[in-house]
Structures are given as structure tokens and as C-alpha cells.
């Protein structure tokens, strides 16, 4: 390794044509004081742009929900009168529709079903995916890599195709028209991606800590449970959120395999039960949609940091 500053180049002097006008002028042109003022102005302008974009983005995203909120409390005569301003209450607001939603429809039942199904699916997903992902990430298997890719490819198999076979399966298991059919089927959607995410996550945790545990006397299985799983917490959060969301949002299987009101989840219940024939109970519909959207969004916002961390680990680096 030689010292490589090239003294033989003579006096380093100046770069080629640094003396001519292509170099930014210093004496001529804006003074430093002027530049400072310009910089301040630019800074202020940039802040304004940021706030404008923020407000625009927020409005465009939330506009339908704001409208939903307003509609919930509108009287029928107000809502259906042509020419009425939809954004204000031309007649007094009322809670009768909200009331009807809770007492006269199966809405609460839908919510309960959704929570139940979601919780069960999350549990099953974790039980299946966590050990599988750990195995792929840590333990020596010749075909481990290929297996991982295969699992991801499985994710690509569209429900639109599978539901054809599932109809027979559901009939055979005598689960037709039961939410438990969904509990059995939803992990087909959640497990592949969860394994993919968690594998990436486990791979990114340094082996040292688990190896330390094994030196300290724990078996590999115990190291998995006591060390790896707690360390993978952000990834697990990502998977929980993802799996619950998927099962709450799912429409195809819910629509195909559940028909009685008492078994429906919100995703399928609201569009079908609150639209009777051609009559849209708009206020109830909008209220229901809003009531489901808000808590999920709230939880997401709280967990966003963890979710992003889990996703980055799993997807970008995995």
C-alpha cells in the first residue's frame, strides 16, 4: 500500500478551469446575507408545501369516512331530499339509525364473529408459522432454501381458484354455513406470507444470543422458545396485525361458505345484511363501515413503527 497522494503532479494548484466563470462566483452574485435570507424564504416555502400536501393527503384519504360520519346521524327526509347539502344537518341529527344498527341488525354479531375468527386465525397462523420459519432460518436443511421459495409461491395461488375445491371440502367437513369453515381456511392465506416474513426476521437476529443460551444449558428447542421468539417480537407483531387484517377483510370465502346472518363476519355481513333488495339503509351502512374502520386504523397507527420494522427485516433483507 503506497501513499498515493500524487506529489509528482506538481503543485496541486487549482482544478482545471476553476478560475473561470463556471465556478460559483463569490464576490460577485448574492452576498452571504442575501443568501441567508433566500435560504430562510425557501425554508418557509418548503414548510408550506409540506402542510399543504399533508392536508390534501389526509382529506383525500379520509373524505369518504368523514362523509360516513355525517350521514350516520342524518334523518331520512334530510338524506333523500334532492338538492340538500349532504355535509350539514338540514334537519336535526338523530341517533335512530345508530340505534337500529345495534338493536335491529346482526351488526354486533358480525363484530363478535370477526373477532373470534380473527383471533383463532392469528393463533393458528403463529403456531404453524413460527416453528416453520425458525426451522428454515436456523436449522440445517439441504432443501431449506427451495422450500422457502415454494412456500412463497403457494401464496400466489389465488383464492378464486381454490374456493372451487373448498366448496367440496367444506361440505365434506360439514362446516357449511359456519364461521369455523373460515377459521380452517384463512390460514391458507396467512401462513405462507407469515412464514416468509418470519424467516427473514429470524435470519436477521444474530445467532450469538441463542448460542449463548445453548451453552448455558438450554436445548435448541428451548433456545427457540425462550430466546428467538421474544427477540422476534416486532416480526410477530407484524404477522399478528397482518393475519388479523387479512381475516377481517376477507370476502370471497366468507361470501361463498357462510350464508346465515348469525355466522357472518363484518366484511360480508354489512354489504349483504344491510342492503335488503334494492333498499340501501345508508345511514346504518355508513355507520357500520365507520365503526369497523376506526378501531383497526387506530391500532395500526399505534403499531406502525413495529410493523415497519418487522416488514423491513422480513421482506427487504430476507
Amino acid at each position: 500500500m503506497t501513499g498515493t497522494v500524487d506529489a509528482a503532479a506538481g503543485p496541486a494548484g487549482s482544478a482545471p478551469d476553476s478560475a473561470d466563470a463556471t465556478a460559483p462566483p463569490r464576490a460577485a452574485g448574492p452576498t452571504v446575507e442575501q443568501q441567508r435570507r433566500q435560504a430562510r424564504r425557501r425554508h418557509v416555502a418548503a414548510r408550506i408545501v409540506v402542510y399543504v400536501v399533508a392536508i390534501l393527503a389526509a382529506l383525500l384519504s379520509a373524505f369518504p369516512f368523514i362523509v360516513e360520519g355525517i350521514i350516520t346521524f342524518k334523518r331520512d327526509q334530510d338524506l333523500y331530499a334532492p338538492g340538500n347539502n349532504p355535509f350539514i344537518y338540514n334537519l336535526d341529527p338523530t341517533v335512530e339509525h345508530l340505534d337500529f344498527l345495534f338493536t335491529g341488525t346482526g351488526f354486533l354479531g358480525f363484530v363478535g364473529n370477526t373477532l373470534l375468527v380473527g383471533g383463532a386465525v392469528v393463533a393458528i397462523t403463529l403456531v404453524l408459522a413460527l416453528p416453520a420459519a425458525y426451522s428454515l432460518a436456523r436449522l440445517p436443511l439441504r432443501w431449506g432454501g427451495a422450500l422457502g421459495i415454494t412456500i412463497f409461491l403457494v401464496y400466489l395461488i389465488p383464492p378464486s381458484l381454490l374456493f372451487v375445491s373448498f366448496s367440496r371440502l367444506v361440505a365434506n367437513l360439514e362446516l357449511q354455513d359456519s364461521k369455523w369453515a373460515l377459521v380452517v381456511l384463512y390460514p391458507t392465506i396467512t401462513v405462507p406470507v407469515s412464514v416468509w416474513l418470519l424467516t427473514g426476521f429470524f435470519r436477521s437476529i444474530p445467532r450469538d444470543i441463542e448460542e449463548q443460551a445453548m451453552i448455558d444449558g438450554y436445548s435448541r428447542l428451548a433456545a427457540f422458545g425462550r430466546v428467538a421468539v421474544p427477540l422476534a417480537f416486532p416480526g410477530i407483531v407484524a404477522v399478528v396485525v397482518f393475519a388479523f387484517t387479512l381475516s377481517a377483510h376477507e370476502y370471497l370465502y366468507a361470501s361463498a361458505f357462510v350464508s346465515s346472518s348469525s355466522e357472518k363476519t363484518v366484511s360480508i355481513g354489512i354489504p349483504t345484511e344491510l342492503v335488503l333488495g334494492d333498499v340501501f339503509h345508508w345511514q346504518e351502512l355508513q355507520a357500520a363501515a365507520l365503526l369497523v374502520a376506526l378501531p383497526i386504523a387506530f391500532v395500526f397507527s399505534l403499531l406502525l413503527g413495529r410493523f415497519v420494522a418487522g416488514f423491513t427485516m422480513g421482506a427487504v433483507k430476507g
Binding site: G3, V5, P11, A15, P16, V32, H43
Partner: protein, 348 residues
């Protein structure tokens, strides 16, 4: 080369939310034109924050930054005519070496042919000609540093700012890189501010050293001065390896550098102007020909563990477990106030 300018900070302060003390506390600094100034201190002393405020990457809570006499507070980095080399070199991973070097010129809207010429001039100066079409991940640590320097050089800045650029290199490479940087500075002569926590680096490279602790400047001066005449015990122990020995005595702390002590019999009878004391040797380390004696010093003040460094030219046999008579020249003794830990004159 663009004219070297002086960098000044006046009362520069930076407070971060949640911190209990300012990261940079009322720092007044002034470089000479063309000087190589080193900011030295342990992690957390504020040296990097100070550098970043000079660069324009952080805004000061208080005080001014002046470059070439002009106040530059509020000016974005690109308007300050500075260049910076980061600890990680911060090369654009998706661009070739050539594109990395040309990037600042592109930002200045310099036409392609002139850009090419300038980039090649900078690359040539740093011996990068053969690497121009490689990407950063194909380069060694030393090569990456040179690319970072070329990118900095090509803007013809008035000030170079370097943030611990040698920390990522292994020890052997570091020595060579250090020489390269000094050569580089001699060639181009731009005012350079260099941040490091390594006192050996600081001593070897700086025209002047600024020693910092807890956001404040403890001492400024040429390496020799800061080493020989530290203003307080922190500077005294931070510089020098092994650090200065500090022996408490009444309301004073007596300090002497490990290499300033000699066994008494080396001097024979010529002992005036020297202070006698005793060293009970516990342990001897052999390092690069020197002997480092670890032991307990008595006769200077309270009995205190000290380290004495004997060069290979001192042949006196020393054995662990024995007490020997040692001397230090009185002129080499330093005194610090027990309360303030600041340097003071000999009370005797």
C-alpha cells in the same frame, strides 16, 4: 485552489430536547487560514455536533458560525462552500466512482465536459485513475476513503470537515492513511477541521488541538503545548499513553508524564533540580522495546499507583517486587488544584 478561509464559532451552543446539558456549550473557536485543526475528545463530548453545525447539518440553538468572516447561520450546507468526509465515507452505493466524484459538480450545474475534466483531475491527484468505473462495494477501505476525498476536493471548498474518517480502517492502514491525509493537506492547503477521539491521531496530525469534554472546550493549542502544559487534569490524562500520573498531595495534585521519570542511579550524583521519590514495582510490561513499570509511588504525596515508561536506552535492571529510587526533573512536574483540577503554579 480556492482561498483558504478561517472558520469561527462565537458562543455556539446546541441543546437537544431531552438532554440535561447542552451537547455543545458556548464554544468560541477560531481557526487560522489553511490550518489543520483537530477536535479531540471522548464520545459524547460534542465534537461531532460542533462539526455538523459548522457544516450546516444541524442548526445551533445559540451563537454564530462564521466562515471567511461571514455569518452563515441558516445557510444550507451547499451554500457554505464546505466539503465533508464522513466516518463511513457515505459514498453513493449505486453510482460508480466517477459518478460519485462528479456528483457535486452536477449539483452545481457544471457542463459535462468540464465535469469530466475536474473529476479526472481529482481522481488523478488521489491515485484513483484505474478505479473510476468501479462501484464502492468493490473497493477497499483505503480506496473508499480516497474516493471520499476526491469527491470533497472536486468542489474546491474553502473548508474541509472530516468526521473520524480513519476509525473504520484497521490499525496498519490507519497509519498510512494518516500520512496520506497530511500530505494531502500540505498539497492543497485548505483549512481543515478534523474530529477524532484518538489522541495519537490528534497529536500526529494537528497544527492545533481543541480538547473537548461535555460540550465545552478545555484547551486549545499546538500538540506540544497541550501535551506539555495541560490546563487541567482531564487534558493531562486524556493525552498521552500511558496517561499522566497524578499524585494527590495535601490540597494539590502533582502530575508527571510516565516518560519523565528515571531511576535515580542513571543520574548518579547529579540530582539537583530533581525530586526524589520511591517506586515499589508490581508489574513490568514490555512494549515495543520500552518497559512499562506499574507500581506504587511514595514520597511525592499520598502513595498512588503510577506507570513509568523506561525507553530501551535505560539499561538499569528492574525486578518486580522491589522498591527503587526514582527521580523526576522539577521542571517536568505539573501541579493541579485539588478542588478545581485546573493547572496552577508550584505551591512549594
Amino acid at each position: 485552489m480556492a482561498d483558504a478561509v478561517a472558520v469561527e464559532t462565537v458562543g455556539l451552543t446546541k441543546r437537544f430536547p431531552g438532554g440535561d446539558r447542552p451537547a455543545v456549550d458556548n464554544v468560541d473557536l477560531a481557526t487560522e487560514e489553511g490550518e489543520y485543526l483537530v477536535l479531540l475528545g471522548p464520545s459524547g463530548c460534542g465534537k461531532t455536533t460542533l462539526l455538523r453545525m459548522i457544516a450546516g447539518l444541524e442548526q445551533p440553538s445559540d451563537g454564530e458560525v462564521r466562515i471567511g468572516g461571514d455569518v452563515v447561520n441558516g445557510l444550507p450546507p451547499r451554500a457554505r462552500r464546505i466539503a465533508m468526509v464522513f466516518q463511513s465515507y457515505a459514498l453513493y452505493p449505486h453510482k460508480t466512482v466517477r459518478q460519485n466524484i462528479e456528483f457535486p459538480l452536477k449539483a452545481e450545474k457544471i457542463p459535462p465536459d468540464k465535469r469530466r475534466a475536474r473529476a479526472e483531475w481529482a481522481a488523478d491527484l488521489l491515485g484513483l485513475d484505474s478505479l473510476l468505473d468501479r462501484r464502492p462495494r468493490q473497493l477497499s477501505g483505503g480506496e473508499r476513503q480516497r474516493v471520499a476525498l476526491a469527491r470533497a476536493l472536486v468542489r474546491e471548498p474553502s473548508v474541509f470537515l472530516l468526521d473520524e474518517p480513519l476509525s473504520n480502517l484497521d490499525a496498519k492502514l490507519r497509519a498510512v492513511a494518516r500520512d496520506d491525509l497530511k500530505e494531502f493537506h500540505k498539497e492543497v492547503g485548505t483549512t481543515t477541521i478534523y474530529v477524532t477521539h484518538d489522541q495519537v491521531e490528534a497529536m500526529g496530525m494537528g497544527d492545533r488541538i481543541v480538547v473537548m469534554l461535555d460540550g465545552q472546550v478545555r484547551q486549545v493549542g499546538p500538540p506540544q503545548a497541550v501535551y506539555e502544559r495541560p490546563d487541567d487534569t482531564f487534558v493531562a490524562t486524556f493525552l498521552g499513553s500511558p496517561p499522566m500520573n497524578l499524585v494527590p498531595r495535601d490540597d494539590v495534585i502533582v502530575g508527571f508524564r510516565p516518560e519523565k521519570a528515571l531511576p535515580a542511579d542513571v543520574l548518579g550524583e547529579r540530582l539537583d533540580g530533581h525530586t526524589r521519590w520511591s517506586l515499589d514495582v508490581h508489574r513490568i510490561e514490555y512494549l515495543s522495546g520500552d518497559r512499562h513499570l506499574h507500581g506504587l509511588a511514595t514520597g511525592l504525596g499520598k502513595p498512588t499507583p503510577v506507570i513509568v515508561r523506561l525507553p530501551a536506552t535505560v539499561l538499569t535492571p528492574i525486578e518486580a517486587g522491589t522498591t527503587y529510587a526514582f527521580v523526576v526533573r522539577e521542571a517536568d512536574l505539573r501541579y493541579f488544584d485539588s478542588e478545581t483540577e485546573r493547572a496552577r503554579e508550584d505551591p512549594a
